[in-house]
């Protein structure tokens, strides 16, 4: 019974609104733009943060990344021919053996040497690492296999090419089972990797700008290049002694990441006299992003909320005018037996129909805008299913909030006065 009554009220409300088509259409515009901007802004915000989240997630949200950094105190290194700094074997052993919650760690050592195949000579990052690298970093093979335990044990002369390196060294042929020369030795190519997703923002600083990568077993690297790394720079040799350039600590459980990160921080601070390392915690970056995103969304939401407010005020304004204009109708209805609540319902329904109508059109527009942005501005946008629902409820709420006062005014008119109104 009630739903039938409401159905009829909505039908009659629509009919009253259609008496003034242009006015009704213009009135809905405020809510229309408000709602569509809420949806569009949420979609843009969601898209931007999702993109950032994904980049960070690719760094590994379960990982803690430790890197060697050349200390910037000049006097510490000025006289010395050999510069010793960075992460040490001891650091690695401590982390792997004594830290609770650590599932494993992948050491990475970088060798400054050129790579050659035939006439082509390039200088990618030559990285000595363990088989776990692939799993811990979540990178994927394009072809072949990654370095294996057997390679590691047998100190095999095998290598895995990064996407860029493979393309540069073998522009025309399949690199699998081909031989490349690294420094003075030949290595057999056993696999190639898919391209690394390019990182932006915080992650980019932590990552590297180097185009190419080539991976060899850690044991092979140590046996061929030893502990000293000679870097040719500006005509002179610059000797560096670095055990590891990077250690990726695999925590396994996300809940332990921050704990392990702090433990690493304390441990390194205790054992290193200078700050020759840095710690990157993707999870921390992610949490920071989360916070930024939250603030971002609040700001965007408030801006869109203001336009919704303006839309609501517009509706209220028009409804107040409508009530005055229809004073006589109100008088007639009251004389014929309408109770105050009937009048309230009538005008409230009209306002809600206006705002919900604007809201529905706004949802349509709000779904089109992100698609257009994605198409033209090449920005990622995500419309979460709750955004339109949220927007719809907001527009209905606006109808009720801004409709109550005009409806109350209408219902409290004196019937005698209202009937006399011209």
């Amino acid at each position: 019974m009630i739903s039938v009554g409401i159905q009829r009220a909505v039908r009659l409300g629509i009919r009253s609104l259609l008496l003034h088509k242009l006015r009704s259409a213009l009135t809905t515009l405020g809510v229309l733009f408000g709602v569509s901007s809420v949806i569009a802004m949420l979609a843009i915000g969601e898209g931007a943060s999702e993109e950032a989240q994904e980049q960070i997630r690719r760094l590994g949200s379960q990982n803690v990344i430790l890197r060697s950094v050349k200390p910037n105190e000049e006097n510490a290194s000025s006289g010395a021919r050999v510069l010793t700094f960075g992460l040490t074997h001891e650091d690695y052993d401590r982390i792997v053996n004594t830290f609770p919650g650590v599932k494993g760690a992948v050491p990475i050592r970088e060798i400054p040497d050129e790579v050659r195949h035939g006439q082509i000579e390039i200088t990618p990052r030559v990285l000595c690492t363990t088989p776990d690298y692939l799993r811990v970093t979540g990178r994927e093979m394009s072809r072949g296999r990654f370095i294996s335990e057997v390679d590691e044990e047998t100190i095999a002369n095998v290598c895995v090419l990064g996407h860029e390196t493979a393309r540069e060294l073998f522009p025309l042929k399949d690199p699998l089972d081909e031989r490349v020369r690294i420094g003075a030795d030949y290595f057999r190519v056993v696999g190639t990797l898919l391209p690394r997703v390019r990182l932006m923002g915080d992650a980019a600083e932590a990552g590297s700008e180097v185009t190419g990568e080539i991976f060899i077993p850690r044991s092979t690297g140590s046996s061929w290049w030893g502990e000293m790394l000679a870097r040719r720079r500006a005509g002179s040799f610059d000797m560096q002694e670095i055990d590891y350039h990077e250690i990726i600590v695999d925590v396994g459980d996300q809940d332990n990441v921050l704990f392990v990160a702090n433990a690493c921080r304390e441990m390194l601070a205790r054992n290193h006299k200078t700050r020759d390392y840095e710690i990157v915690v993707p999870l921390e970056l992610m949490l920071r992003r989360e916070e930024t995103k939250r603030i971002f969304n609040i700001v965007l939401g408030s801006i869109a909320g203001i336009s919704l407010l303006v839309g609501g005020i517009g509706i209220m304004n028009v409804m107040l005018a409508t009530v005055t204009e229809r004073t006589r109708e109100i008088g007639i209805r009251r004389a014929l037996g309408a109770k105050r609540r009937h009048i309230v319902t009538q005008f409230l329904v009209e306002t809600v129909v206006l705002s919900v109508g604007g809201g529905l059109l706004g949802i349509v527009l709000g779904l089109i805008i992100p698609t257009a942005i994605e198409h033209f501005a090449n920005m990622r946008t995500i419309v979460t299913p709750d955004a339109p629902i949220f927007a719809f409820m907001i527009s209905a709420g606006i109808g009720v909030i801004f409709g109550i006062y005009p409806a109350w005014r209408a219902a409290n008119m004196d019937p005698v006065e209202a009937l006399r109104h011209e």
Binding site: L12, R15, L19, I332, L336, G337, A338, R340
Partner: protein
């Protein structure tokens, strides 16, 4: 017709007065007014403007309340009713006919006739059929889906009469019902009133036109908020 047996009095006013406060001045629109309207009466209420006939009509129509005194509709004291009850009373016991028809512009004729039913708490499911019959009766059976703006003044007023009859009211209140119509059309409306009177309906017709007043069964003249004269025709007294 549902007449509650023991009394034939439809509307009873006891020492009713209605005072308007307009700034400093007190205007007594109706003063110490006592009268009883019997079931089946057809009254013309006449008087110059400011004589209190509009005030009387508003009170009789439960649109307004007396400043003092008692007003009973079929034995119910209006003073004891709140706003909702008064609205309910209007939708059940009263039928209004206005000078300017006062149909609701966005509703078609059938819907206009049904408006009083719309506001009843337990509407009679047969009301729509009754509305069609009434439209037939006032000669608008083929116009029920027309909007008021598509009808002539006379047709609109006949629709308004159908609307006033839809709830089978105890009292039909007509305010200058022929005031906006030409003589010919006005006559048709008055003939309709004669028919309703013949059927035993209670009609109060406010007018300032003597010819209209002459058609009524009884005539009451007001002056300065008091009864100036009451002329009863025929055998009723």
């Amino acid at each position: 017709m549902t007449n509650n047996g023991d009394s034939s009095i439809v509307a009873e006013l006891e020492a009713v007065s209605r005072v308007y406060q307009m700034g400093e001045t007190r205007v007594e629109a109706l003063a110490d007014f006592s009268f009883q309207f019997q079931q089946g009466d057809y009254w013309a209420i006449m008087g110059s403007s400011g004589s209190g006939k509009s005030t009387l009509l508003n009170l009789l129509g439960c649109l307004d309340r007396p400043t003092s005194g008692r007003y009973l509709v079929r034995g119910t004291d209006v003073d004891e009713l709140d706003d909702d009850d008064l609205s309910d009373l209007r939708s059940r016991e009263l039928g209004f006919i206005f000078q300017s028809y006062n149909l609701i512009p966005q509703l078609d004729l059938l819907e206009n006739i049904l408006v009083p039913i719309l506001y009843q708490d337990n509407p009679d499911p047969g009301a729509e059929d009754r509305a069609r019959t009434l439209a037939e009766r006032v000669g608008l059976g083929d116009r029920i889906h027309h909007l008021p703006s598509e009808l002539s003044g006379g047709q609109q007023q006949r629709a308004a009469i159908a609307r006033a009859l839809i709830n089978d009211p105890a009292l039909i209140l007509a305010d200058e019902a022929t005031g906006n119509l030409d003589t010919q059309t006005g006559q048709e409306i008055l003939e309709l009133f004669d028919e309703l009177h013949a059927e035993g309906k209670t009609i109060l017709l406010v007018t300032h036109e003597p010819e209209v007043g002459d058609r009524a069964e009884h005539v009451m003249r007001l002056s300065d908020g008091r009864i100036e004269s009451v002329v009863r025709k025929g055998d009723k007294s």
